[in-house]
């Protein structure tokens, strides 16, 4: 007996749907990129906490510059590296609202180093999400502050040479030392289990903001398969083998 599709598409058979806060606009991220997953997690968290009318997001410059197209909340698009300062301005003037910033490695750990460190050091009561894929994706694969030693990028085509280029920067370890941060964690989204952990971390970060505990900083070690010139599957394996030893997952601080 042939099964009619109409008999399957019924409310009682629904096992998954996208967050109602995700817009229907197709994401511009490359297939396999971690950004789409983290964007989705943030939308789900905001919806599940029921705070969508009180959230203001701050998008960065980089691959997630157009992130404001995807989540149904109010947004600011900040200049490169300045999201923590923009977030500070918003939160100081609207202390009852939830503010989160979303930055890549160039934004958070190179051009915006001062803004990142000082927002964390003041203990701005915001959520900071830091996507670390070790490369500048948007501009075409240049070296990032977090590019690993020996890792190739278009501005270090023979691999990062620490004598010439300096060492990869562990921004998350730095902010964990600052008294203003209450929660600093490093997560990933390469497996279903990792996605669940990252979601838990982001929920905790927003709950900390509700409880006025200070800055919550969530790094997501991520893949950039286009920039790394690998398939999505290869990227995940490469990340596990190379990124995780240098950027180990887990909580650095949980107060």
């Amino acid at each position: 007996m042939a099964i009619d599709i109409k008999d399957i598409i019924k409310p009682e058979n629904l096992v998954y749907s996208k967050s109602s806060l995700l817009t229907n606009r197709p994401m511009h991220y490359c297939p396999g990129c971690s950004h789409g997953v983290v964007n989705k997690i943030i939308a789900e968290v905001i919806e599940e906490l029921g705070i969508q009318e009180d959230v203001i997001g701050v998008a960065p410059v980089g691959c997630s510059v157009l992130m404001y197209n995807y989540i149904e909340v109010d947004w600011h698009e900040a200049a490169h590296g300045r999201a923590p300062a923009v977030g500070t301005g918003i939160k100081r003037l609207l202390p009852e609202k939830y503010v989160f910033t979303y930055q890549g490695d160039g934004d958070c750990a190179a051009i915006g180093t001062a803004e990142t460190i000082h927002a964390c050091n003041r203990g701005e009561n915001i959520v900071m999400v830091f996507i670390n894929n070790g490369i500048y994706g948007m501009t075409g694969g240049q070296m990032a502050p977090t590019t690993l030693q020996g890792m190739k990028a278009s501005t270090c085509p023979f691999g990062r040479d620490v004598q010439r280029d300096g060492n990869p920067l562990k921004m998350t370890d730095i902010v964990a030392t600052l008294p203003g941060t209450c929660y600093v964690t490093r997560q990933a989204v390469h497996t279903a289990a990792a996605v669940r952990k990252t979601k838990k971390a982001i929920i905790k970060a927003f709950e900390n903001q509700k409880n006025k505990k200070g800055t919550s900083f969530v790094e997501v070690v991520s893949t950039c398969n286009s920039g790394w010139k690998m398939t999505p599957m290869e990227s995940n394996k490469w990340m596990e083998a190379n990124m995780f030893p240098f950027y180990p997952l887990g909580d650095l601080k949980n107060e």
Partner: protein, 360 residues
Amino acid sequence: MREIRLMKGNEAIAEAAIRCGADGYFGYPITPQSEVMETLMALKPWETTGMVVLQAESEIASINMLYGGAGCGKKVMTSSSSPGISLMQEGLTYLAGAELPCVVVNVVRGGPGLGTIQPAQSDYFQAVKGGGHGDYKLIVLAPSSVQEMADFVELAFDLAFKYRNPAMILSDGMIGQMMEKVEMKPYRPRWTSEEIANLHPWATTGKPKSRERNIITSVELDANAFEVFNHKLQKKYQQMEEEEVRFEEFQCDDADYLFVAYGSSARICQKSVQILRGKGVKVGLLRPITLFPFPSKKIAELSNRLKGILSVEMSAGQMVEDVKLAVGCKVKVEHFGRYGGVIHSPEEVVDALEKKIIGG
């Protein structure tokens, strides 16, 4: 009852900000304007009006805190002096591109580089021609007294919100540091969140179900769409040129010669006019109050019956270019000014008019 106080220009800025209902000040110390934040911190407005005052880690952070606050529809301001204002240019072009209102005070000191802490007017180009990248303008007000330092804070906020554009108060170290009597205005309450939602429907306040989400941004990757947006900005600047030009005339009615000078230089030129009038030379002073929009039409109109114009500015000659553009070669226009932190005397200005314009 009138409230008259003796205060420094920088202190007047701070006091006026609280009184006009500002929501936030973000700044970084730099001479000769540090009294602005010092006064605000001493007055503790967060305990009275609820105004937020925060010392940022840099001018870059300050201007981006303004971007955040302004996007929420709040009245936010910062102040700095020349080197710090240079650091803010990135933020200013983003504010202009995102059409956000805010007030930035530049208490100018001599440049280039770290320069000097003495007064100068050498940031004119940076203030009136945009300053950062892209086609944009700031609304630029030039106070020439401590009273105007106070009054222009409210005016700058009003214009900034009317046009959704950053406004700059272009002062200098002399007006910032000198003390004069000031009549303070009564307190104006800060906007409530309901008022902000009604007055500024574009503001990010958290998205209620009743409206679409608000996005504060200056990015548009479609060149044709971005050209259309740029047309909109240009129309706005044109409207400012038609409606917002402000200036003051001093003995211009029968003048054969004219000084054009703003801020501190205008104060000095008033004395030069008196000296020259005493000698029987019919000279007047036109003081632009708005540097953008510039009183070009007024200067062009006056130039029809003038024998010559001396543009006086504590710079190597910046505003003189706008005076020349306004006059269009109809009469002789020359520049005079001491600079690098040196202030010209009224006698030096008299001498310059006699040599460069009357005798030249």
